[in-house]
Symmetry: C2
Subunit: 358 residues, 2 copies
DNA sequence: TCCACGAACGCAAGCGCTTGCAATCGAGAA
DNA sequence: TTCTCGATTGCAAGCGCTTGCGTTCGTGGA
């Protein structure tokens, strides 16, 4: 294939038409007879021709590319969401440009410069709450915007009811009979940039549920750390030195919950006999460790946000929708030890009843 | 910012020079005096100008973009490697275009069409072995190529000594005293497209070590399935109905190993007392479940492959390098039960000696 | 003081495609 | 048969930037 010279001109020549006709025919623009359209298509196929993106972008001003910005790629949640979004975008004929904003510095540089201008038609922003100025900067660069895990006035977005989810999670633990329930949340690190809003909302829901149940709050029972296994482990370690260890813990992310389980195991505490643990995300590995968690339709969110952006790019209004959150009960939650009736008690700790998680 | 009208021309006007001088000044091309260069730079800053990528691509033929193609985004390994590669590429001023080739159909479409032509200067291909024709197609599209987890004549690549790693893994189990060691490998699914080569090499290394140790091979002990928790679980289930259950299992991927651990737990078998399990990747969650595994410097591989591609793009020769693989001993490998001396025996299964993984 | 030469800079021709507008053609209306 | 109008098609002017080449100007050497 002599792709070096495969341009509209060669196709036009081979099909015996002008280059404008080729351009129109190949893009299904009206004003070309079916016969010539077919002839052009054949010529293009024969030559293995495909229009130069740079040239058509320059001429049209459209890039047929969308950017996806994520805080970090190496996390299951973002990989999953990105994968789904990417597939949806590609089906619609868009390329996907990747931006990983791992540090605050990168975030600032990204929004201050015009890194998107002329590169993308729109951008999906995941898990970070853009400020008004940042949104302004994006629209000044002519970008359509869709948010995931955040919301803003007049901007398309997909999210979940984190307050409701937090309340539901806490209620599950309350209903089991717990009254000393800790919360481990995501702390916005100095070097990181995770949007602090959803984690905060989960905390609020947790507090609401406790208040409604008449359980007194306890600041010591609220711990925050970075969203990782290590962060969860660190937060749990802090909880272990409390005056009284909680009997249940709601952790705002599964990865942190994995760290929590690890520390509990090392401390010789049995889950769920001594402590119940409830996570958030329904990470693919929850099933392996038997972690009870809050599922929030992660894959669907990825498709949603892509479709919302595509709609906007086609001139539609910026839609906003919320996905469902539901409890997935596995093996890390149970009534507190003191409450169990002999019949529910699993018997000797080493028997099959021993959940053995982690 | 009136970005709508911010073009070379406006900068030229403001700086009182011609557009060619602006172009040269902003790109540090020689032939511009320091004084005017400064003046142009200031004018550009004041206007918030940045050159239209489409226009400069059309004029130069370079896109300053590289493509990354991965089989699937939602896996820790690929997320990690991509994150590192992306950062390295961005530092060098390149944009990153994402291609997820989840199915065989997508792979075929990708390589048959000229999806890269004019979009990227080069491409990083992860974990799939391109055929000669596929490589030909890429170079016909003018792409520089770097491979990760695969090798090809004259193509830049980064990989690991999978045969050696497989041998090392098997030897660790042999050295512990095992003589009935199973292998669970990655099967190339119909719908998938993972390069079959590295997994195959791990199998070969395993076989070599067994042969060297005089342990007879047993086809029944070699099982293959898709590279996922579910796949590992399925493969393990097949092993459970063997005439004699193996006392140790080398699993070619950590995610599969997690599935293996899950099935073993459900079957009431203790790890490592009844069965030892050895994984591959050093997945970030290995630490949580205590999985002994083979680490192969995943993050470094990502940086390596990006740098290799950057070198090629700068006219350098296509480098190939291999990363180290090393055993990371955790809690899922131990001598077979029958061999243990009373003193090493952890005592009653429910004591603290019970590793309790999964 | 005059000339030659190199450094700075501007001109203008593209890069390959899109698209408003004019030109052409065929067919139905008069 | 001639005229009019819509459907096709071609022309050519960009889109915004890069770059080979010619021009201008200042400076050191003769």
């Amino acid at each position: 294939m002599n792709r070096m010279a495969t341009t509209v001109e060669s196709v036009a020549e081979r099909a015996g038409v002008s280059i404008s006709t080729v351009s129109r025919a190949l893009r299904s623009v009206p004003g070309v007879s079916a016969a010539t359209r077919k002839r052009v298509q054949e010529a293009a196929d024969a030559l293995g021709y495909s229009a130069s993106p740079a040239a058509s972008r320059l001429a049209t001003g459209r890039t047929m590319t969308v950017g996806i910005v994520v805080p970090v790629l190496a996390k299951w949640f973002f990989g999953k969401v990105m994968g789904e979004a990417t597939q949806t975008l590609r089906e619609a004929g868009f390329d996907v440009l990747l931006f990983e904003l791992a540090t605050r510095g990168q975030r600032e540089r990204f929004f201050s410069g015009s890194h998107l201008h002329g590169r993308t038609d729109g951008v999906i922003i995941m898990a970070l709450q853009p400020s008004a100025e940042e949104l302004e900067s994006l629209s000044a660069q002519g970008q359509a915007v869709a948010l995931l895990g955040a919301e803003a006035q007049g901007i398309g977005s997909v999210s979940v009811d984190n307050i409701g989810a937090g309340r539901a999670a806490a209620r599950h633990l309350l209903n089991l009979g717990h009254d000393r329930i800790a919360f481990i949340g995501i702390r916005e690190e100095e070097g990181s940039n995770l949007g602090g809003v959803p984690p905060l909302q989960r905390l609020l829901g947790y507090r609401e549920a406790l208040a409604e149940a008449g359980v007194p709050g306890d600041g010591m029972l609220e711990q925050f750390d970075e969203n990782s296994v290590a962060g969860g482990a660190a937060a749990m370690s802090r909880l272990l030195v409390a005056e009284r260890i909680p009997t249940a813990i709601f952790v705002a992310s599964d990865e942190m919950a994995f760290g929590v389980l690890k520390v509990l195991r090392k401390a010789g505490l049995d889950v769920p006999r001594d402590v119940s643990v409830l996570g958030f995300d329904n990470h693919e590995l929850c099933d392996v460790v038997g972690l009870t968690t809050m599922d929030h339709e992660v894959a669907e969110q990825g498709q949603d946000v892509a479709r919302i952006l595509l709609d906007i790019l086609q001139g539609g209004p910026p839609a906003s929708l919320a996905r469902q959150v539901r409890l997935v009960v596995r093996e890390t939650t149970a009534p507190p030890h003191a409450l169990r009736s002999p019949s529910t008690h699993p018997g000797p700790p080493d028997s099959a009843g021993h959940a053995g998680n982690l």
